[in-house]
Amino acid sequence: MRVALFVTCVNDALYPRTGIAVVRLLERLGVDVDFPAGQSCCGQPQYNTGYRYETEPLLRRTAEAFAGHAYVVTPSGSCAAMIREHYPRIGRKAVGEGRGSELAALAEDLAPRVYELTEFLVDVLGVTDVGAYFPHTVTYHPSCHGLRGLGLGDRPRRLLAAVKGLDLVELPGAEECCGFGGTFAVKNPDVSTAMGADKIASAAATGAEVLCGADNSCLAHLDGLLRRADAPLRTLHLAEILAATEEEPLP
């Protein structure tokens, strides 16, 4: 099987380790990975802040970059939700404004081919035990876009629970938003920080060594708070845990 990796702009520039982990993981599972170089940002920051017109060229670019790939896999729930939920909506709005029928067609064509990493593993490959090894205590924060936008359900937890050596502890109030929310983090910094502080406090109280998530944007916010507080807990993207094996532990 061949898939295209949509690494997302945040992972490309700030968290290349996550992209590398996805490549290692998928290849270990016998999947061929392409990285279409024409990809960039899905336009979520622009769209969610109210700049729909600025989002349209990025929709077009993303759709063109992944034209012809039956499976597009991304390690970001919010970017997957952006493409699946909001691209068709942007297309319909453009049509409603008397233009963009081509844009709408591109959006409709791409949306169903995009998979968040855990969906792809569980639903398409049909695996929950990916042969990973990670001997640590881990707690999982389900980001809102994965949880409510995509309906990932317990897929991430099932994948983590199957990792050898991993001790998965429940995060109290897991379903509560961490307070990142894209530009919300800078537009409403006080509320954003208050929400994040509560989240890291619950995570720390579990006694876990690692706070795991499937969206590096939320993790960047939580990690920034943890490091400012000099807390012993560290954040890790789910893909990095799933990529780790006894022979090749996390770098």
Binding site: A13, P16, G19, V23, T49, G50, E54, G149, F180
Partner: protein, 496 residues
């Protein structure tokens, strides 16, 4: 008087929220109250196997009614009139306040008792009556606390949610005597003692009042029936004891038939108070045979139908779903932003997620507070998940952000206008455009990433400008030596 008298005093949401976030007592009060009710709500909803179907049915009934609102409102007017009531139409807050003030004046009375009502708060009726020399007494317990405390409500259902018991006792002790029967002395802060003090204080008012003012949760077009859901029974006293009853109701509250109430009788109490059924549901239809001079209930009934921005909202295809709202307040109780910011930060009688989409539609996005409300959310989607009429609040938030950031069509006072993008977003717009241009040219993006990586040791701990809001409380992610794109090119070559 302007439509929303206190409006200029409201700062933009982020500024108003800052104080609330730092108020530990307020945060603790809110956290305790919202978490208790949200857990109870989840249990009450889980009891119904057909919740999803009830939710869909509620949505469908509301959508159908809104689509044919003109027809149903006329039918309602006819039914209310046939039953002996009088219907008045109010285009905005001023007109509604004028109508009610004149109706009270005509009775010769100088005071009215009130059932808790969002619509009369929305129009600032108490202040308008006061200006006309008429005292309006709130009779809902929480609303009484707010009124006696010279405060503003901070929650749809529990307006005094931001107060704890000790604060309430102090308010009762110092204020009750100024308005009527003083609080018993000594007064403890046990909920039962507080409720008893309120009961004694209010009883005098019920027995004396000749005029009552109410809102309604629903109006049935078919029969002209008004419906009020409540918990304490004080509303029923207002609705039955005085001679004259004046109800001010938003035009979106109409439902076609009596049977439609069945859906909301199940979904509203469970969503709002987490009860299977609310203790008191009062329904009245004009002046029936048992009402009037020798029967029970008032001898005169006036219905004031309030528009105040509602038909403008109805004209917006995406935004109109906000008019489905049945004011259950479930979205407030699950909202993590409301929980930290408190209700006052929303600068309106409609706080929380529903307030963030309703106020900027009813009032327009012109003021600082209304332009900031669509951004008072992380778009986490918890509000949409609990809403018993399935209002996609995140969708409307993004839609309204668009209106603020890049402008767009809207209807104001019945006229189609093009809203210009907000001035204060100029710098942001430039940044979004620059980011988009960069993202749209992967070659340039790659060069920028490399530059960033090379400069990583120079990266400051604190950023200037908008970035400061991040670095004030959070560390920045450390920059990697190489981007994913470069790693791929190095490891795999770059076939494309």
């Amino acid at each position: 008087m302007p439509a929303f008298p206190a409006l200029p005093a409201f700062p933009a949401f982020p500024d108003a929220a800052r104080d609330a976030v730092r108020d530990d007592v307020l945060r603790a009060n809110l956290r305790h109250a919202t978490h208790t009710i949200r857990d109870k709500r989840a249990r009450a909803v889980a009891e119904l196997e057909d919740w999803d179907r009830l939710r869909a049915a509620g949505k469908a009934v509301k959508d159908h009614t809104l689509r044919h609102l003109d027809r149903y409102l006329l039918q309602l007017e006819e039914a209310v009139t046939a039953a002996g009531g009088t219907v008045h139409w109010a285009a905005d807050a001023d007109e509604a306040n004028r109508i009610v003030t004149e109706l009270v004046r005509a009775t010769g009375e100088r005071e009215v008792v009130k059932v808790k009502s969002m619509a009369t708060q929305e129009i600032g009726l108490n202040e308008a009556l006061e200006a006309a020399g008429i005292a309006a007494y709130e009779t809902d317990l929480a609303e009484l606390i707010v009124q006696l405390g010279h405060d503003r409500p901070s929650h749809i259902l529990v307006p005094a949610i931001h107060r704890n018991r000790a604060e309430i006792r102090d308010i009762f002790r110092t204020e009750m005597g100024n308005w009527g029967r003083p609080a018993p002395d000594p007064l403890g802060d046990d909920p039962r003692d507080l409720a008893e003090a309120a009961r004694l204080h209010l009883r005098e008012k019920f027995l004396r009042a000749k005029v009552a003012v109410s809102g309604a949760n629903f109006m049935v077009a078919e029969t002209g029936t008004m419906v009020v859901f409540e918990s304490e029974g004080n509303g029923r006293m207002c609705l039955t004891l005085p001679d004259t009853l004046i109800s001010v109701v938003g035009i979106e509250k109409v439902v076609p038939t009596f049977r439609d109430l069945e859906i909301f009788l199940q979904t509203l109490p469970r969503s709002s108070t987490a009860e299977r059924m609310n203790p008191y549901t009062t329904m009245w239809t004009g002046l029936g045979p048992s009402r009037g001079a020798d029967g029970d209930g008032p001898s005169a009934f006036h219905l004031v139908l309030l528009d105040n921005g509602r038909t403008d909202t109805l004209a917006d295809e995406t935004g109109r779903q906000a008019l489905r709202c049945i004011r259950c307040s479930a979205c407030l109780n699950v909202c993590p932003v409301y929980e930290r910011a408190g209700g006052h930060a929303y600068g309106s009688v409609y706080p929380g997620p529903i307030g963030a989409i309703l106020s900027p539609q009813l009032r327009g996005t012109g003021s600082a507070i209304d332009a900031s409300l669509p951004y008072a959310s992380t778009l986490c989607g918890a509000c949409y998940e609990v809403c018993p009429v399935a209002i996609d609040i995140p969708e409307v938030l993004v839609h309204l952000r668009e209106r603020v950031a890049q402008g767009g069509p809207a209807t104001r006072d019945g006229i189609r206008v093009r809203i210009r993008p907000a001035q204060r977003h100029t710098a942001e717009r430039a940044a979004m455009r620059a980011a988009r241009l960069l993202m749209d040219h992967p070659g340039a993006l790659r060069a920028a990433e490399r530059l960033l990586a090379r400069a990583r040791r120079l990266a400051p701990r604190r950023l200037p400008g908008a970035g400061r809001a991040w670095t004030d409380t959070r560390e920045l992610p450390s920059l990697p030596a190489e981007s994913f794109r470069d790693w791929w090119a190095r490891e795999r070559g770059n076939p494309q």
